[in-house]
């Protein structure tokens, strides 16, 4: 189907789609006029039932933990798909990991950049750990904190030395991290089956709200998801950067 035919079809169907969307949205209650029941119940009872002060994380990792399991595995499958497609791109004769080029031709980074590359990884890993652990108390949780955790080793890329990044986050460690996170979440749910008669039912003591160890297994779930998300993003970045910076004919400097 050529581009002109596509555009013509869209000019025919597009206004119709827009009109249907606007008509459909007109049937919704007005903005700010909230009619739902589930949200009201969660808002009123989540603090006393789950001892968590951040209701979004309480929903994510405790009340609707089963949905999070499915979404976590979508993430896992997408990262595995990226690894599958991009590793199949490597030319024949290259081993499982491409050999780094012999010469860089890179002028080197200034001292300021180098000290930044030393400072950033531990700072970001610390911040990511903080966001992950405090999911049940303040805005945060496994998903957001996981991406910040993954940004830690990426700080070493500020100097442009991709091989330094690979030394901080080697391939096998990244894959193991992701698999560990995915496995840990499923196993925590099995604990619910064993101790509380329902998969992913909260079985640890609930604790006092606003304390770090409160909310039952919410912090543990958060840690598992954080590990998995950071492993997935590091894997995706490593695969793409391998392709862009290392693979192929190598440097022609």
């Amino acid at each position: 189907m050529s581009r002109r035919v596509r555009l013509g079809l869209f000019l025919l169907a597009g206004p119709g789609l827009a009109a249907v969307l606007v008509l459909g949205f007109r049937g919704l209650p007005a903005f700010g006029d909230y009619h739902g029941v589930y949200g009201r119940i969660v808002d009123n009872f989540a603090l006393s039932a789950r001892h968590a002060t951040d209701f979004v994380t309480a929903l994510n990792f405790d009340i609707r933990a089963f949905d999070t399991l499915g979404e976590e595995y979508i993430l896992f499958a997408a990262a595995a798909g990226v690894a599958l497609v991009l590793r199949g791109l490597r030319e024949e004769g290259e081993g499982p990991h491409p050999a780094p080029p012999q010469q860089h031709g890179f002028a080197g980074a200034s001292d300021a950049l180098r000290s930044l590359a030393l400072l950033l990884p531990p700072l970001l890993v610390g911040l990511g750990g903080y966001v992950v652990l405090h999911g049940a108390l303040t805005p945060g949780g496994g998903f957001q904190g996981g991406v910040v955790l993954a940004a830690g080793p990426l700080g070493a890329l500020v100097t442009g030395r991709y091989l330094a990044f690979k030394r901080i986050a080697p391939h096998s460690a990244v894959e193991a991290l992701e698999a560990l996170g995915a496995w840990a979440y499923a196993m925590l749910g099995l604990g619910g089956l064993v101790f509380a008669s329902r998969y992913l039912q909260n079985y640890l003591p609930l604790g006092i709200p606003t304390h770090l160890l409160s909310g039952g297994f919410m912090p543990l779930n958060s840690i598992a998801v954080g590990l998995e998300v950071s492993g997935a993003f590091l894997l995706v970045w490593t695969e793409f950067l391998d392709q862009a910076l290392i693979s192929g004919r190598g440097d022609r400097s």
Binding site: R6, G32, G36, F55, L59, V229
Partner: protein
């Protein structure tokens, strides 16, 4: 005026779709798909909003306040992170297509003949 969030959601959806249909570069197609997906986020958060509601975090406000619906926030929050990985998968396919067909123009990705 209170229809504005839904209007913006519809606008983002349609213009993202137009970007997908009219692009001559597969990477552009993927990036316009991100705009289309953002329309769903705006729509979901618009549905869950409650007039004069506060964020559903009660660490420092009393619980009796009217709070915004947290259920839709859960959906959007996980979806944003998953969208990034799915975009990565799509871009990996684009890189593979470029290697196979030598071009990222969707019009030149003819199925292998013969």
């Amino acid at each position: 005026m209170s229809f504005l969030p839904f209007a913006v959601a519809a606008w983002l959806f349609v213009i993202g779709l137009w970007g997908v249909v009219s692009s001559q570069n597969l990477v552009r197609t993927v990036l316009c798909l991100i705009v289309t997906q953002s329309a769903t986020y705006v729509l979901l958060l618009g549905i869950g909003y409650r007039a004069a509601g506060k964020a559903p975090i009660v660490a420092d406000i009393p619980v009796v306040n009217t709070l915004v619906d947290p259920t839709v926030q859960v959906l959007v929050l996980t979806d944003i992170v998953i969208e990034a990985t799915v975009v990565a998968l799509l871009l990996a396919l684009v890189v593979q297509a470029h290697k196979r067909f030598g071009s990222v123009d969707p019009a030149e990705l003819r199925i292998m003949r013969g």
